[in-house]
Every structure is written in structure tokens, then in C-alpha cells.
């Protein structure tokens, strides 16, 4: 048994809060590292112990292994939960912790290296006959890469080898733009993951993004917690996820889950992870990548299975046996998660900043809100623009969708532009309610998802309300004096 007496959370925002909640429930003390810019965040307020970290940029601080390890030593934390992003899939970090005798709550560094490197992961699948889409990886010869990529043909997807989350991903539909896409992808990859290696693979049109949650202990037990559908994406950023996947035949579902399980087992996986697949319209599915960490959208799985994945992660890290068998894992009802982003859908979804002047999110039975912000906090461009996750549970999909729309209607965020209206449009769309979704949904229905235009009357009411609440308009100092006001627009 590995003892864990205190866990340091090397993360921030809503996931830090969420992890702290489980620690609290489990009675395990937690420590939170934080950058000054997060000083007012709910996570920092929740944590009973905090350590300040610094860096050239806020992101750099959370990527600074030395500071984090120093923080562990200072606070006598003997385990680290890395959350997702930042150092969560950094094998070097995992190794450093190992050297310091600090438990890394996640898989082994070797597994991370295997699965974390997209190219190695793909080779692994290829060797083991797991389903894969045709692809080409970088070699010494850029010419060869380009030639092979061209031979796969368009549409082609360029991806970063070292990480996911949509960073460094570019679809090439016109083969002449291949090099431009490569250049951009490499740049982004270097910025986000410190590694500019890319690969290219056949892009499946209208694919569904289906992923399977895996848990594996250190005693050879591996289970899956069912699948999630994450097809509602924009530029490879997930917006809405749900579990179970709609309109998925039970046999296919089982096959996908079993395949995920096999992959995890073959890779000798430990702790929590997710195997992602592309499901083509012809029901072929291909391995996309494996994420060797807990994922943003894990709540939907928790809502339908009733399990706490973070808790299970900790227990696995403590060397416990998984407390349930595969056949004991059930899925009840339907769960939908909506990611609330600070972005301006009307300005090409540019990230929005500002102060959360009003920030009211719904509460209730079957509503879970994983929140990284509170009212009056500032949303800055330092981190990615996710404000919170609204996770809904319903008896079935129809019920969940209805509750989700209701929850959005009860949400009010003023001061920063958000995608709340956009989410409402998606959830209300007839094609979405039928469940006929794929990753092209948003592009295909872009017109339908535009906000309902304001009528002239409505627009005038808004203009008037804004004017009457703004000093420039109503300050009596600028009133036109008499008799000029009565005389009005007169020239002699």
C-alpha cells in the first residue's frame, strides 16, 4: 500500500475546485499551488493550504516543475494530482516526482511516453492490430513527409504529436495549403507542448468523436466506465459532451468499449485514462489518441455511473484494488455537459476578457456546476477561456436536453461575453435533439446557430436601457438649458 497523507494539486480553476471537493469528502488534506493572478479564485479560497508560484507568464508558473516539487517538499505533500493540461501528461515530471518519492496520481511515465506521443501510440496500435486511420509521421525528410501526406490525399488532418486539445490541429482540404498548415501546426505545437513534431492522417468526414473512460489499478484490473460522445466541437475544441452516446447500437458500443479496454490493457495502463476514437458514418471506428489523465468532460461519466473518478484515481494511486468489477458498473439516465466559455460567438469566437459583473449559474437537483470563477473576478487572457462546466442529468436524453436548456435559461453572465446563447441554440436545434450529431455539426448548421436577430423594437429597447443607465446620457450637467431646449432645432 502506498500511503498518501497530503495531496498537492498542480492545477487551477474548476478542476482544482473539483479535486479539492473529493479530497474534502475523503478527509485527505490538500495543498494548492497558485499564481498571483488566481489569488481571488474559488479554488484558492477553498484550499486550506496554498503555496504561491511564479513565472514569466502565469502559464509558465504552472509548468514549472521545480517550483511545484519545492512546494511539495515545503508542505510535506506526498502526492501530486496534476489535473489535466499543464504537467498532467509530462513523463519527465512524473519521473522527477518518483525520484523525490512523491506519488504521481496518474499512469506510469513509460505509459505516458507511449500514449502521450501520438506517433508512438499510433505505431503501438498498428503493431497490435488496433483500428487506425491511415497516417504518416515525420521523418528526417520533410520532402518524404509531404509526399506521403499527399498520397493519403485530402482531406488531411495535421496534428501535434505531443498533445491534444485542438492545439496544433489543422484540416487540409486543398493540397496546396499543406505546407502552410504544417507551418502553423508546428508553431502552435511548440508553444503549447514544447514539441513541434507533427503527423498527418486521413481526415474522416462527418466523424463522431466517441471516447471511453478507462480505470486501471496496479493489480491488473482494468475496467471501462462507458463511452462519451464529444462530437459537438468547434475548431477541435469540445463544447458539449454527453454520456451515453446517442444513437449508438449496443453491439457497436460494446465493441468500441471492449477495444478501448484491450488497448489500455495491452499498454499496461494504470490509473484513469481515456481512449478516443473516430466513428465514421460507415460504422468503422479508428483509434484517435489516448489521453493519459483525467479529462475535462469526466463529469458526464460520473453523473451516469454514480462514481467519483478522482476518488478512484487516488485509491488506485494508494495501491488499492478497484472496488468494483466491470459488471457492477451501470449507466443510469443521460448526462450532458456544457462548457461555458468566455468568448464572443459574434466575433469569430475570439476569447473575451472582462470582469464578471454578474455571474449567476443555476443550482438544483441533477445540476452539477464545476466552476472556476466567482462574481466580480476578472477573466484574463492568461489561461484558456473556460469559465465553468454545467453538467446535467436526466432520465433520458430528451429529459437531459430539456433540463440543460432550462439550466442555460437560468444562467446569467454579464461583463464578459460568453457562449451561453450559442449553447442554447445548439441544444434547441432539431438535429441535435434527434441525436444525429458528428464533429461537423457546428460548421454545417452555422447559420441556424446564429443568434436570433433582434427586431428594431428590441434593439431600441436595449439602446434606450443602456443609454438611460449611463452617465454620459443622463448627467443633468449636459442638459440643454432653457429656452434653448424648448426652441429646439432652429436657425435664424
Amino acid at each position: 500500500m502506498t500511503t498518501i497523507t497530503k495531496i498537492l494539486i498542480a492545477n487551477r480553476g474548476e478542476i482544482a475546485c473539483r479535486i479539492l471537493r473529493t479530497l474534502d469528502r475523503m478527509g485527505i488534506p490538500g495543498v494548492l499551488v497558485y499564481h498571483a493572478i488566481d489569488a481571488d479564485s474559488p479554488a484558492v479560497k477553498m484550499a486550506s493550504e496554498t503555496i504561491k508560484i511564479d513565472g514569466q507568464t502565469p502559464v509558465a508558473a504552472y509548468l514549472d516543475m521545480e517550483q511545484i516539487i519545492a512546494a511539495c517538499k515545503k508542505t510535506q505533500a506526498d502526492a501530486v494530482h496534476p489535473g489535466f493540461g499543464f504537467l498532467a501528461e509530462n513523463p519527465e515530471f512524473a519521473r522527477r516526482l518518483e525520484l523525490e518519492n512523491i506519488t504521481f496520481i496518474g499512469p506510469l511515465p513509460e505509459t505516458m511516453e507511449l500514449m502521450g506521443n501520438k506517433i508512438k501510440a499510433r505505431s503501438f496500435c498498428l503493431e497490435n492490430d488496433f483500428p487506425l486511420a491511415p497516417s504518416v509521421t515525420e521523418s528526417d525528410s520533410e520532402e518524404d513527409f509531404i509526399r506521403l501526406a499527399k498520397s493519403i490525399g485530402v482531406p488531411l488532418l495535421i496534428k501535434a504529436a505531443a498533445g491534444g486539445g485542438g492545439k496544433g490541429m489543422h484540416i487540409v482540404r486543398d493540397i496546396d495549403r499543406l505546407e502552410e498548415a504544417m507551418h502553423l501546426a508546428k508553431g502552435e505545437a511548440l508553444r503549447s507542448f514544447g514539441d513541434d513534431t507533427i503527423y498527418a492522417e486521413r481526415y474522416v468526414e462527418q466523424p463522431r468523436h466517441i471516447e471511453v473512460q478507462i480505470l486501471a489499478d496496479h493489480h491488473g484490473n482494468v475496467v471501462h466506465l462507458g463511452e462519451r460522445e464529444c462530437s459537438i466541437q468547434r475548431r477541435f475544441q469540445k463544447i458539449i459532451e454527453e454520456s451515453p452516446a446517442p444513437m449508438l447500437a449496443p453491439d457497436l458500443r460494446n465493441l468500441i468499449c471492449e477495444t478501448a479496454l484491450s488497448i489500455a490493457m495491452k499498454a499496461g495502463y494504470h490509473n484513469a485514462g481515456t481512449v478516443e476514437f473516430i466513428l465514421a458514418p460507415d460504422n468503422n471506428f479508428y483509434f484517435l489518441e489516448m489521453n493519459t489523465r483525467i479529462q475535462v468532460e469526466h463529469p458526464v461519466t460520473e453523473m451516469v455511473t454514480g462514481l467519483d473518478i478522482v476518488e478512484l484515481q487516488i485509491r488506485i494511486a494508494r495501491d488499492e484494488t478497484l472496488p468494483m468489477r466491470q459488471d457492477e458498473i451501470t449507466s443510469k439516465g443521460h448526462s450532458i455537459e456544457m462548457r461555458l466559455y468566455a468568448e464572443d460567438p459574434e466575433n469569430d469566437f475570439m476569447p473575451a476578457i472582462g470582469q464578471l459583473l454578474t455571474y449567476q449559474l443555476p443550482e438544483g437537483e441533477d445540476i452539477r456546476v464545476d466552476n472556476g470563477f466567482t462574481e466580480r473576478m476578472n477573466v484574463t487572457s492568461a489561461f484558456d477561456p473556460m469559465l465553468a462546466k454545467l453538467v446535467i442529468h436526466g432520465m433520458d436524453r430528451k429529459d437531459a436536453v430539456k433540463r440543460a436548456i432550462c439550466a442555460l435559461e437560468k444562467s446569467l453572465v454579464l461583463g464578459v461575453t460568453t457562449n451561453i446563447d450559442f449553447l442554447k441554440q445548439i441544444l434547441s436545434h432539431p438535429v441535435f435533439s434527434k441525436g444525429q450529431i458528428d464533429t461537423g455539426f457546428i460548421t454545417r448548421h452555422a447559420e441556424d446557430l446564429l443568434p436570433t436577430p433582434l427586431t428594431e423594437e428590441q434593439r431600441n429597447l436595449l439602446l434606450a436601457a443602456a443609454a438611460l443607465s449611463h452617465r454620459d446620457f443622463i448627467d443633468p450637467d449636459f442638459n440643454v438649458p432653457q429656452p434653448y431646449a424648448t426652441i429646439g432645432n432652429w436657425r435664424n
Binding site: 476569447p351 436601457a465 443602456a466
Partner: protein, 169 residues
Amino acid sequence: MRRRIDIENQQYEVTVFGRPEERFFQVADGAPKPVSLSLEENENDAHTIQIGNNRTQIRMAAKGEMVYASAFGRTVSLCIVDPVEQAAQASGGRGNKARSPMPGTVVEVNVTAGDHIKKGQPMMTIESMKILTVISAPRDGEVLQVHFEPGKTFDKNAVLVTLVEKEEL
């Protein structure tokens, strides 16, 4: 008082005049209409706005020149434009300033004061929430000043690079 208000990427000249008990609202040169804004005594902090016979409930929050409003089932941002800013934007634009499309950080600077550049030439790379964008020259010309160095952050619409004034033809 009359000001420009921007809403949904459109601009409107709005005038409000009269006394607090009797106010009038006018868009551009349209007919002025009686208008009132009242705060409801409820837990919602909702206002009621009424123009003539049209009214609706509305929730608002304001900061500086921005007003964020929620009504008709959606949220809308309105920007009350200061006239000096408005005039400066209209005249100062003219292809002499490259502005940032969003808040972010400078990643890489490719030009320096005195450089002669061609239209479309990359001058700077910026990053916002891990998305990279290239800022290109709006026209042929000469760089007057680069206003931010790598690592510095800036706001939306900040002037990133100024070009030497071009003689009007």
C-alpha cells in the same frame, strides 16, 4: 445628450433629452419617443425599460463604456463610444496603425523602427489563450514604432505597430 452606441457590430447615434420625470429617446434622426427605465423591487435586480408602449424586463451590468444586457432570451453587449475616441478612430485608422484583434501576449516581433515593409508582410506574432495569430502590415510603408516587446500583454484594439504617416495623394 447624444452619443454613438455600438451593438452587434452596428453603430447608432442615440439621443436622450428631457428631465428625469420626462425623458425622450431618439435614434439617429427618428421621432423622439417618451422613455423610462425603472428598477423593480424583486430579488432579480431586473429593470423595466419602456419606450412609448413597448416595454420589457432587462438585466444589466455596466463597466466603463460597456453595458452588458440580458433580455429577449439572450445577452447583448453595448458599447457607448466617447466622441473624441470615435473621431480619433475614424481619422487615425487610415492604415497607419495595426491594432490587436483580441487581448493577448506578444510572442515574436519581426520588424523594427525604420524597416520598410510590404503589404501583408508579417510584423508580429501574438498569442491569446494558446492560439497564435500573425499581425501583418496593412499596406506598403515604413515602420515608425513597435509598441510591445515579446512577453508583454495588451488589450483588444491596442495599437501594436504604427507606420510612418503616408502623404495623402
